[in-house]
């Protein structure tokens, strides 16, 4: 019993770290562009599919860690220019546009990849004995990669010129433009980096979950929950909330079925929304 609990908690923790990457992309797009991105789950799904195609074409899974975010970045930049730019500032329209985008991405993947789900075997076959079972080493490795990517992103945001620009435009667009920051390019870059983060999360998660054109549908509400509970626009809060939520669901799953765990986290989220709409971590980080 104790072992099951620890195991599910560990699974939740690892999954939460991957979700944190994806939710971070959602939060960046939301915070800077004021876009409610319904297609974000599909950005993740595209990442898993690119990882699968890369594996099929080159035989190397690891190459997917480069191709998936790169593909996401380029497609994200393109989408921002064509779809998001003309409707900027009207969040309700962004919901419709990204809903359309979500349909297009899912259908394109269904055409190119096919309607049947596929599995990717873990690239690290080894297992280690943990809590009474042979635990896949790749899962631990995926967690480490996710943590590294999260840290890398925060370093980028706080210690590079582009990251500073992103924060400046979010803070005060007009002043930023007056100071000579190319806000337009920052918007394109932000949307692209948001897509790239989700696609990278997809590549990391591909051997843990299945590769399927509907793979983004379930993940989307979860990412939104992380963003809200962490506080809209609060990036470290988002990451922390994702880990906390997945961990909690893992723990609850050890004594109830997964749907009950999902309902529990939804109820928790309602409480947070009603009692602390600014997020759980307001005032702790900024």
């Amino acid at each position: 019993m104790m072992h099951t609990l620890l195991l599910l908690a560990l699974n939740g923790l690892i999954w939460g770290l991957i979700i944190a990457l994806i939710a971070l992309g959602l939060s960046v797009i939301f915070g800077l562009l004021d876009i409610i991105n319904i297609a974000h789950g599909d950005f993740f799904m595209v990442g898993t599919v690119v990882a699968w195609f890369t594996l099929e074409a080159t035989g190397s899974f690891w190459l997917g860690f480069i191709t998936a975010p790169l593909f996401g970045f380029l497609l994200g930049a393109l989408i921002q220019r064509i779809v998001i730019q003309p409707i900027r500032n009207v969040a309700a329209l962004s919901i419709v546009a990204t809903f359309g985008l979500s349909l297009i991405l899912q259908e394109s993947v269904r055409i190119s990849f096919g309607p049947t789900p596929h599995r990717i075997l873990p690239p690290i076959q080894a297992t280690i004995p943990l809590f009474g079972i042979e635990y896949e080493v790749y899962r631990l490795f995926a967690a480490a990669i996710a943590v590294a990517a999260l840290l890398g992103f925060f370093l980028f945001l706080n210690h590079t010129k582009l990251g500073t620009w992103m924060r400046a435009v979010r803070h005060d667009r007009d002043t930023a433009i007056a100071m000579g920051i190319p806000a337009q390019r920052v918007y394109v870059f932000t949307f692209a980096i948001g897509f790239a983060l989700a696609a990278f999360g997809g590549a990391v998660a591909a051997p843990i979950t299945t590769v399927d054109f509907r793979g983004g549908v379930d993940i989307l509400p979860f990412c939104f929950m992380a963003v809200i509970i962490g506080g809209l626009g609060n990036l470290p809060g988002t990451a922390a909330a994702a880990v906390l939520l997945a961990f909690l669901e893992g723990v609850i799953q050890s004594f109830a079925d997964p749907t009950v765990a999902r309902i529990a986290s939804l109820v928790l989220m309602s409480a947070v929304l009603l009692l602390r709409p600014q997020g759980l971590f307001k005032g702790l980080t900024r």
Partner: protein
């Protein structure tokens, strides 16, 4: 009467004549299946109208209207299948369940606005979606409940029921039009003007003494009522209720239909719903990947006509009918602005 009003009135009469002639006209021109397709479009457009009442008139974007649709649906299905109710009590139960649920969840939801409101409505609907999936004894889960429909009216030996496609069509048409007429009455009343004041600037509305919370709750309950009627009709129409209709994708589709058709207009949701369901039906028989077209259409409409198809039509009409008045008729662009 201005030329513009004449054109609009002529269109309305033509539309009404067409809708009344559908059960005879459509089977003669195409085939009988399209009569039930038009009935389905009517039901879904009523559902989209519930999104429209909230977003277009009071400025609340609900992403969880499927919850009230589902309650209307299950009220009917559980009423007939498990409680053995007749047609009208089951109809009443469905509408009551949806409206009561909208009242209870509205008490909490309308305390929030904008993004937070959108999110909490999804959260509420997801909670009940997962509950419906697990509580199979009541809801049948994803498999749903199938039931046989009792007659709507019976006079002695003669019965009128949904087994007659023509009666089914007219019952749905009458119910949907009655609901739209009620909605028109509300939006044109002082209450409706107060809704618009809250939509355009809630702070200013509260400063002139309007009870913003009360108005938002009223609109939310009314929208729940509309969604509940749509759900109950859909249960009658399909003789079926399923948890899958409570998933957030169903709510999302209604938002898209309402905004693409034209939020804040009475017929916008009908136009948007008809457009997307017709695309689905016309294309899906020839080409498997019809959702590509749906996606592209949604994106094109919001880029080219941010105020929806009906909004675009009104601009066109204003230009051809009253060229001199174009300046006056152009509404402020920031009508549906976002709150900071």
């Amino acid at each position: 009467m201005t030329r513009r009003a004449t054109i609009e009135r002529a269109l309305l009469v033509a539309f009404a004549a067409f809708m009344l002639a559908v059960p005879w006209l459509i089977p003669a021109l195409i085939n009988g299946f399209w009569v039930s397709l038009i009935a389905e479009i009517l039901i879904w457009s009523l559902f989209a109208s519930s999104v429209n009442l909230l977003y277009g008139y009071i400025g609340l974007l609900s992403f969880g209207q499927a919850l009230y649709f589902g309650f209307g649906m299950y009220g009917v299905a559980v009423g007939i299948d498990q409680l053995g109710l007749g047609f009208w009590p089951a109809f009443g139960l469905g509408i009551f369940a949806a409206t009561a649920m909208a009242f209870v969840s509205g008490i909490f939801a309308v305390r929030l606005s904008w993004h937070y409101f959108a999110i909490i409505t999804v959260v509420f609907s997801l909670i009940f979606y997962f509950l419906a999936v697990t509580q199979k004894w009541l809801t049948g889960g994803d498999d749903g409940i199938n039931f046989t429909l009792p007659p709507t009216f019976s006079f002695g030996g003669t019965q009128l029921s949904f087994t007659s496609a023509t009666f089914q069509y007219f019952f749905i048409l009458a119910t949907v039009m009655l609901c739209l007429w009620l909605m028109q009455c509300v939006t044109r009343s002082p209450l409706g003007k107060a809704f618009l004041a809250v939509r355009d600037n809630d702070v200013r509305a509260s400063l002139i003494g309007l009870n913003v919370y009360g108005l938002r709750l009223t609109a939310f309950v009314m929208a729940g009522f509309l969604a509940g009627v749509a759900g109950a009709l859909f249960a009658f129409f399909g003789r079926y209720a399923s948890a899958s209709y409570m998933f957030y994708h169903v709510s999302g589709e209604a938002v898209v239909w309402a905004i693409v058709g034209g939020a804040g207009t009475l017929f916008g949701p009908l136009v948007g719903t008809a457009l997307f369901i017709l695309i689905r039906e016309l294309v899906s028989t020839h080409w498997e990947h019809h959702s590509l077209i749906v996606g592209v259409t949604a994106i094109l409409v919001v880029i080219l006509a941010p105020r929806g198809i009906v909004g675009l039509w009104r601009d066109v009409l204003a230009r051809i009918a009253e060229p001199a008045d174009v300046e006056r008729s152009v509404e402020p662009a920031a009508e549906l602005r976002t709150e900071p």
